[in-house]
């Protein structure tokens, strides 16, 4: 396990943990952006340039904006004091739910055969080959994801467009 991987993982997990602890929403949102940049660094370390730059472009460029706008536009009541669990049963229910999700995840990770031995350097794919793969065997997956995103976009526009009386604007 070489030094770079440790550094990158500390960056990712550290920024995610601190982000959860902070009370200032904007600071935690920006720390999340740091976490996504860490993931992009991990891809770079792994040699997958295309995915790393895509990650930076999409997460650091666009999704961070959506998160920040969401934080800005929703009304923040200043007195956001920490939510103390008022009743014991609520605490128990939270514990059970959290434990269940954690159990499933750990089970899945351990279940998959991961060949940890360093069998030869990963094949470096050029962008042209990635394009070929995407358009070739994985074309269906690409189209479905594209469709999904378009539907999401249209849905967002419909929600955001506040219905206002259509006024004929005499343009002359």
């Amino acid at each position: 396990m070489n030094l770079a991987l440790i550094l990158i993982s500390v960056l990712i997990l550290g920024s995610a943990a601190v982000a959860l602890a902070l009370r200032n929403l904007i600071h935690s949102a920006l720390l999340f952006v740091g976490c996504w940049a860490g993931i992009a660094a991990f891809y770079l370390w792994a040699g997958a340039e295309f995915v790393a730059f895509a990650q930076v472009l999409i997460y650091v460029g666009a999704v961070s904006m959506v998160v920040l706008f969401a934080v800005l536009l929703t009304r923040q009541s200043d007195a956001a004091e920490p939510m103390n669990p008022d009743s014991f049963s609520r605490f128990m229910r939270a514990l059970v739910a959290g434990g269940g999700v954690a159990g499933i995840l750990v089970g899945a990770i351990l279940g998959t055969p991961m060949d940890v031995s360093t069998a030869g350097p990963a094949p470096t794919l050029t962008v042209k080959e990635i394009g070929g793969q995407l358009m070739g065997p994985h074309a269906a997956a690409l189209l479905i994801v594209g469709l999904l995103l378009t539907v999401a976009l249209l849905g967002a526009v419909v929600i955001a467009a506040v219905d206002r009386p259509e006024k004929s604007e005499d343009a002359s």
Binding site: V162, P165, K167, A171, S172
Partner: protein
């Protein structure tokens, strides 16, 4: 090209003047912004308390008084002649026509006559002032529209030439103090007249170049057409006069209505707008400049010789008989009036200035409702106010 200003946009409703009354949770609270008095685009110390809903103006209250010097109280403690240099400080962009308005009112009060050459000189200087004022306005309007000073500097290049003529004639560029009750103070030299007519002859070529650069510009059309619409009936009732009123289609120009001075001897036309929006107000100024050039050319041709001062007029110890008079003329900004009430003493008993800039601002709020902050700046720019005249 860029849009009619009514289609939805991601940032709040930007349609025409339909203002949302209902308070729905999705929109945040209103934003109180005070624009001015130190604001780069309010033409002097003028403040607007604007209430914004996102980008759209919901309420706009103008605040005046930052440049108030109580010009009228000073005038009541000074002789009639003593107030003449102070009238330059009212509308400091068009001092010659303000001087003429004051002289007109005093001549009406005291019943003085003015020789022909002085009448022609007054028309020449008033129309030259109209050129200076409209060129300044158009330059500043484009500055508010966001060009980085280029049209303003072209406009100021032409203004400088005319102002140098004023300096050569009256002694000062902007504070001319040139008219006297019964005539003018200095008789222009032939070289001055030659230089002035040469300048007036190639003014239209400057206007053509200016118009080709900006009148057809798509961004200009999108930013000004349909912005700040003014209804003719409301304009008349609100006492709005000058190019702003004529842009709404009301045919009321004192040069034709009152026919003061020798204006009836000149043939010139009065341009009228149809939509009363910022674009029409801009075009009114351009077309009026072209008409002023026509008047100037005729005046230079027919300028008679003769005295420039009524021999009977007295310079000092001028005591008009008791009585009152209201003299008004078509200043570049609108109807500029002087209401004088004399009680026989050398100082006026009551000296009142009817400021076109102040009264043209009466409907500023109605014109700006429903538009964005950027439009409010442009609408204010198209009304053409000068704070010296607004606050007096």
């Amino acid at each position: 090209m860029i849009g009619t200003g009514s289609a939805p946009s991601p940032f709040g409703q930007l349609s025409g003047p339909t203002v949302r009354k209902v308070k729905d949770p999705f929109h945040g609270d209103l934003l109180e912004v005070s624009m001015g008095p130190q604001h780069p685009s309010t033409h002097g110390v003028f403040r607007m308390d604007v209430t914004l809903d996102g980008e759209v103006i919901v309420k706009l209250k103008p605040v005046f008084g930052y440049l108030h010097r109580n010009h009228e109280k000073i005038a009541e403690n000074t002789s009639y002649l003593g107030s003449m240099p102070y009238t330059d400080r009212l509308d400091y962009l068009s001092s010659m026509s303000t001087n003429w308005a004051y002289a007109l009112a005093v001549e009406k009060l005291a019943g003085l006559t003015v020789p022909d050459r002085a009448q022609y000189l007054r028309i020449i200087l008033a129309e030259l002032t109209r050129l200076v004022n409209h060129v300044c306005l158009v330059g500043f309007l484009f500055n508010d529209l966001g060009t980085s000073f280029t049209p303003l500097l072209y406009a100021f290049r032409e203004r400088e030439k005319i102002i140098d003529l004023f300096e050569a004639l009256s002694g000062s560029r902007m504070m001319c103090n040139y008219q006297r009750f019964g005539g003018c103070r200095v008789d222009p030299t032939p070289e001055w007249l030659a230089a002035a007519s040469r300048l007036v002859d190639n003014f239209p070529s400057f206007l053509d170049e200016y118009e080709s650069m900006l009148t057809g510009n798509e961004i200009m059309l999108a930013r000004t057409q349909g912005v700040g619409r003014l209804d003719p009936k409301h304009a008349i009732n609100a006492g709005i006069t000058g190019p702003v009123l004529r842009a709404s289609g009301v045919n009321y120009d004192l040069r034709k209505v009152d026919g003061y001075g020798f204006y009836p001897r000149f043939d010139f036309r009065i341009p009228l707008g149809d939509h009363g929006d910022t674009y029409d107000r801009y075009m009114m100024r351009i077309l009026e400049m072209r008409e002023s050039v026509k008047i100037l050319q005729q005046a230079f041709r027919e300028l008679p010789a003769g005295p420039i001062m009524d021999p009977k007029a007295k310079l000092r110890g001028f005591r008009p008989k008791p009585g009152e008079a209201y003299g008004r003329l078509e200043s570049p900004k609108g109807e500029l009036g002087f209401y004088l009430l004399s009680d026989g003493s050398p100082n006026p008993y009551r000296y009142r200035v009817r400021p076109p800039s102040l009264i043209n601002l009466t409907l500023l709020e109605e014109m700006c409702l429903g538009h964005t902050v950027a439009d409010a700046v442009v609408i204010l720019g198209s009304i053409d106010i000068v704070l010296g005249e607004v606050d007096r």
